[in-house]
């Protein structure tokens, strides 16, 4: 990000719109970056005004992850595309047990997008990053013609540092391991859906969008290498996450429906829309698979953390050469919790 200091007038953030010059790399681009992004992200890396961030790398194992955000609507109860783009990528790092270090952010803006909305999104990103103790150290902005994008798309990339001796991976689940869920499912998906005007319903539900690395650090400290893996059940929900792990680890799962927390408002919205909460997206929850011996210790530290108060054991890993995720329903029967066929609802993250 470079920014010549010479310019005539400040951006008209209240009434202005993104135009093609804001992505052309000239003075208008520099002004946009300066007055919106640098202002919101406020850190010495950006202050240097280079096209990259330079930093020393600590010894150890690094993780890196990237994610694109196309959520619609851009603003939803409990968050917006900006905070989501920070939390989502931090969580991808955290699921490796990592402490997130730096983020990069890249924007595709549609011509005509209100500068006020862009500022609101950037400030929300800045707040989310600073609350998480992570800096957005470099970035990029492009503008495409009206109709070639939908408002704003954001890609964030992060790097993090994994504590020595920790090896969390989706292929490490073993029969007999316990499955722990950090809290209620479906909040994010339902909060977003409630703002889609075509669905015509309202709810008080807020997205659970949150950075989970603090919770993860406590869990890693409590369980150490007995923690096998972590995964955040985002798009596709808890059901998809468990199926992914089953494939990776070549195992099955047996879970108890009655042990999975679902808020009544989420259950009601799903009932209305014909959705299964097991498949609805989350942005601030995690699934942990751990050796049975550390279950109590894990539950204790999770429940002591604000993002894990409702943590519970929801089932266990089974030996299954067809990798079935099976569930005992609260009604008393058995069922499979299968992969989702098709899309329950597009653009949820």
């Amino acid at each position: 990000m470079s920014s010549p200091r010479l310019r005539a007038r400040k951006l008209d953030i209240r009434g202005g719109l993104v135009d093609l010059s804001h992505g052309a790399g000239g003075r208008a681009s520099a002004q946009l970056i300066d007055e919106i992004f640098r202002e919101a992200f406020d850190n010495p890396f950006l202050e240097q005004g280079n096209d990259q961030a330079a930093f020393d790398v600590p010894a150890g194992r690094m993780v890196m992850s990237t994610d694109g955000y196309v959520i619609w609507p851009l603003f939803f109860p409990g968050g917006d595309i900006g905070s989501l783009a920070v939390h989502g990528t931090i969580n991808d790092l955290a699921m490796a047990g990592a402490r997130p270090l730096h983020l990069a952010a890249s924007y595709i803006l549609e011509e005509g997008f209100p500068l006020a909305d862009l500022q609101r999104i950037a400030q929300s990103m800045g707040r989310a990053a600073s609350q998480a103790g992570v800096a957005i150290v470099t970035g990029d902005t492009k503008v495409v013609e009206r109709g070639k994008a939908d408002g704003v798309f954001i890609t964030t990339t992060g790097i993090g540092l994994v504590p020595a001796g920790l090896d969390l991976s989706g292929d490490r689940a073993r029969p007999g391991d316990r499955v722990i869920l950090s809290g209620s499912i479906g909040d994010h998906g339902v909060a977003v859906m409630s703002k889609r005007s075509s669905l015509g319903f309202e709810t008080e539900i807020q997205s659970d969008s949150a950075a989970l690395h603090g919770l993860v650090a406590a869990m890693v400290a409590a369980a150490g290498p007995s923690l096998r893996l972590l995964r955040d059940p985002t798009r596709g929900g808890l059901a998809t996450t468990l199926n992914e792990i089953a494939q990776q680890s070549r195992c099955g799962f047996l879970i108890e429906e009655s042990s999975i927390p679902v808020r009544p408002e989420v259950a009601a919205a799903c009932e209305l829309l014909g959705l299964d909460p097991l498949y609805v997206a989350n942005e601030g929850k995690l699934v942990a698979v751990a050796e049975p011996g550390v279950t109590d210790a894990l539950l204790a530290v999770m429940r002591a953390h604000p993002l894990g108060r409702e943590a519970s054991v929801i089932g266990e890993v089974t030996a299954d050469d067809e990798y079935f995720v099976q569930m005992t329903t609260s009604f008393g029967g058995g069922r499979i919790v299968d992969w989702l066929a098709g899309e329950q609802l597009p653009r949820i993250c």
Partner: protein
């Protein structure tokens, strides 16, 4: 959640299941058909099979609206959607249904057809109002349950004096389908579906009431218990059917008294009668041509009839010959008895519509119940 949790109470379910096990006579087999896809879904979703004794068997019926729609009608809808002036509005269930030649509405949409997924028929009217330059066609399907809302949307379009809204009508009727299942005297033995009774339609019956089943129950000497779609409704209906069979009764009973009356919803019936009339005949997937089994728009509403507006000429289309949806829909086969099931046909790559709709017997068994096939196969192996 109030009025939901009560009907999903596991404790109560176990106590009703115990009554079924106690009252089902050990040396006889009870075979009941659940007519509706909604019941099929509930049975699979809640694992009701696990609560039933081995001599009480459930057979899936034809009451899944997406499943009984013949391929030719999907082809017609795709041809409509490919017209440059047309916006086709459809429920999401239909998007993935296989049409002729590997086509589907989903693929047509990707190829540029203006196809929009809606949650209510009223949304189609609102789209027509907002986009007067587009010809908005609502792809109407379903049994008597969804017909009233289609009727209301046509009424709304008329009040708004919209000239760019029409309905591609595929509404079908339940009683002729039940008759087609039961009227087996002229069929060869291998095609006869033997059932001891019906779990009767839930939402359909809120509209038409229980009265239309009385003649069927008497003529074919089969008990019918109209039941809700919650799992406890289904389990209770099964107990009521077991009792009717044990007592030699063939009555129409109403388990779903919180929503269904004898005469049904008279306002809805009036709305339907105002706008729709019976077709002489209609093709059902799996059941073939059934006389007076479907609805079309009355001549007075011809301007809202997409078939007339766009001169839809039916082109005969056959199912994939290896697909056994037809036998599954009539209860002749279980999904896992179809050679395509789980091999080339799965929800990701459906060969027949029973694998598409969540109410379809194949999709329900694949999604929720196929783990039981393994236990059954291993039990058979042990027995051998």
């Amino acid at each position: 959640m109030k009025y939901i949790d009560e009907y999903r109470d596991g404790g109560l379910a176990r106590s009703i299941a115990a009554s079924i096990a106690r009252e089902a006579v050990l040396d006889r087999h009870y075979r009941f058909m659940e007519f509706c896809g909604g019941h099929t879904h509930a049975i699979s979703r809640y694992g009701i099979e696990d609560l039933l004794p081995s001599n009480v068997e459930m057979v899936h019926g034809p009451g899944c609206p997406v499943c009984v729609l013949p391929v030719g009608r999907i082809d017609d809808a795709i041809r409509l959607a490919m017209r440059p002036e047309v916006t086709l509005c459809t429920y999401a269930d239909l998007m993935r249904v296989p049409a002729s030649g590997g086509a589907s509405l989903l693929k047509a949409k990707a190829a540029g057809a203006d196809i929009r997924m809606i949650y209510s028929s009223m949304d189609a009217v609102l789209i027509a109002e907002a986009e007067p330059a587009r010809q908005v066609v609502f792809f109407a399907i379903g049994f008597e349950t969804t017909t009233p809302s289609t009727a209301l949307s046509i009424g709304l379009a008329r009040r708004k004096q919209l000239t760019n809204f029409s309905v591609f009508c595929n509404h079908v009727l339940t009683p002729p389908a039940i008759r087609a299942i039961l009227d087996i005297k002229n069929l060869p033995e291998v095609e006869r579906v033997l059932v001891d009774g019906f779990v009767g339609p839930a939402h359909v019956s809120t509209v038409i009431g229980t009265a239309p089943y009385v003649a069927l129950a008497a003529e074919f000497e089969k008990p019918v218990v109209v039941a809700g779609f919650e799992p406890l409704d289904v389990v209770q209906a099964i107990l009521m059917l077991v009792r009717q069979v044990n007592e030699g009764r063939c009555e129409v009973e109403n388990q779903y008294i919180r929503a269904v009356t004898t005469g049904g919803n008279l306002i809805a019936q009036r709305e339907i009668a105002e706008i729709f009339e019976l077709r002489k005949t209609f093709e059902w997937r799996g059941l073939g041509e059934l006389p007076v089994s479907a609805l079309r728009l009355r001549d007075a509403y011809a301007q809202y009839d997409a078939e007339q507006r766009f001169d839809v000429v039916p082109v005969p289309a056959a199912d994939n010959p290896a697909c056994e949806c037809g036998d599954v829909l009539r209860g002749l086969k279980k999904p896992s008895e179809c050679k395509l099931f789980g091999t080339v046909c799965s929800p990701e790559t459906p060969m027949g519509s029973c694998m598409v709709s969540p109410e379809g017997a194949c999709a329900a068994h694949w999604t929720y119940g196929r783990f039981r096939d393994r236990a059954k196969a291993s039990a058979m192996q042990d027995a051998a």
